[in-house]
């Protein structure tokens, strides 16, 4: 069951599109895809660190969405919330099939050496800083990483991020605070 905050309740701009999709309306299908595919792929690519696997996630997600369309009632959640939740779930499944945490730790270790000169403040290149940041985000605990990507990188609101994660806005705030603290520590900012 999705947790839906009152802040995200109200008119869902995607509900009518989804209803048209269920009738086989090709224009509605294309429009829904245009609205959500870029973020779905981007989010999955960041969570999985693999663009090809992100495409598999996107295909699987929309296949589920087409199947869901005739049954959609919209009382439980917004379409966008459902989409974000399913992206997170599909990515979690794939990440768990990999060797958990070890892979992430390897990425993080590859990005940071132990020497002080390897720390971000000593690194000048923007690309290098980006690589280090990506590795630092990848090394965060799963829920913190998801919260950070949804809110700080994808720019979702508190209510949207909390609904996608199935948690309260207070819990989201706590996850974000911990994620930022961990990042600062890894980036040598604290």
């Amino acid at each position: 069951m999705l947790h839906v905050s009152s802040a995200v309740a109200g008119i869902d701009p995607d509900a009518a599109l989804l209803e048209a999709c269920a009738r086989g309306d090709a224009r509605a299908q294309a429009q829904l895809l245009e609205r959500h595919l870029p973020r779905v792929h981007r989010l999955a690519a960041r969570l999985l660190d693999d663009a090809a696997e992100a495409e598999d996630v996107a295909q699987e997600l929309f296949l589920r969405l087409w199947q869901l369309a005739p049954l959609w009632r919209g009382e439980q959640a917004r379409v966008a919330t459902w989409i974000h939740t399913v992206v997170l779930n599909l990515c979690r499944d794939r990440l768990r099939r990999r060797r958990p945490q070890q892979a992430m730790d390897e990425v993080a270790e590859a990005a940071f050496g132990d020497a002080p000169e390897d720390r971000p403040e000593a690194v000048l290149g923007r690309a290098e800083r980006g690589r280090i940041l990506q590795a630092s985000i990848a090394a965060l605990p799963e829920r913190q990483r998801e919260a950070l990507l949804l809110f700080h990188v994808e720019g979702l609101s508190q209510a949207e991020s909390a609904a996608a994660l199935g948690i309260s806005e207070d819990a989201l705030e706590s996850l974000l605070a911990r994620a930022r603290r961990s990042l600062r520590a890894r980036l040598g900012e604290s």
Binding site: A30, H41, L43, R46, F62, W66, E169, E173, R180, L183
Partner: protein, 141 residues
């Protein structure tokens, strides 16, 4: 009270008030001006915000991904005559009703006397049509 909440807010949502929860944003932004001790925290979180803004763009999907996904979308359903037939009662109800309607139609066509088909001459029709234009019947050929 304000200070504690401001710290929580900055640590979770960053230094940019636009990203703070809307319900508290204005009140806490005003309170921030009275808390110069928080400037260091604000600067620290602002640096992290800048890092996050510099996160490299995620790789773009393949050019044909959208087309592949659309190919899996359900097509527009074709009209289902069988479903309609079943909806109308199938062979137990719709077939007898259709047969009755056909029989009645044929019977009416055969039994009713044909309407007297007077040969209306072309002159008659033409004169009636020309009346609207104010022409005299005499003017007709």
């Amino acid at each position: 009270m304000h200070r504690e909440r401001l710290e929580q807010m900055i640590r979770a949502y960053g230094a940019e008030p636009q990203r703070w929860p809307p319900a508290e944003r204005d009140r806490l932004r005003a309170a921030l001006e009275a808390e110069p001790e928080l400037l260091a925290l604000l600067a620290q979180e602002s640096r992290l915000d800048a890092w996050l803004a510099e996160l490299p763009a995620a790789p773009a999907p393949s050019a044909d991904l959208a087309a592949r996904i659309l190919a899996s979308a359900p097509p527009a359903p074709r009209f289902d005559w069988r479903a309609l037939w079943a909806e109308l009662g199938g062979s137990r109800m719709a077939a007898p009703a259709l047969a009755c309607a056909l029989t009645l139609g044929l019977a009416l066509a055969v039994l009713l006397p044909a309407a007297p088909a007077e040969e209306a001459g072309i002159d008659t029709w033409l004169s009636l049509a020309l009346l609207d234009e104010g022409l005299e019947e005499d003017a007709l050929p």
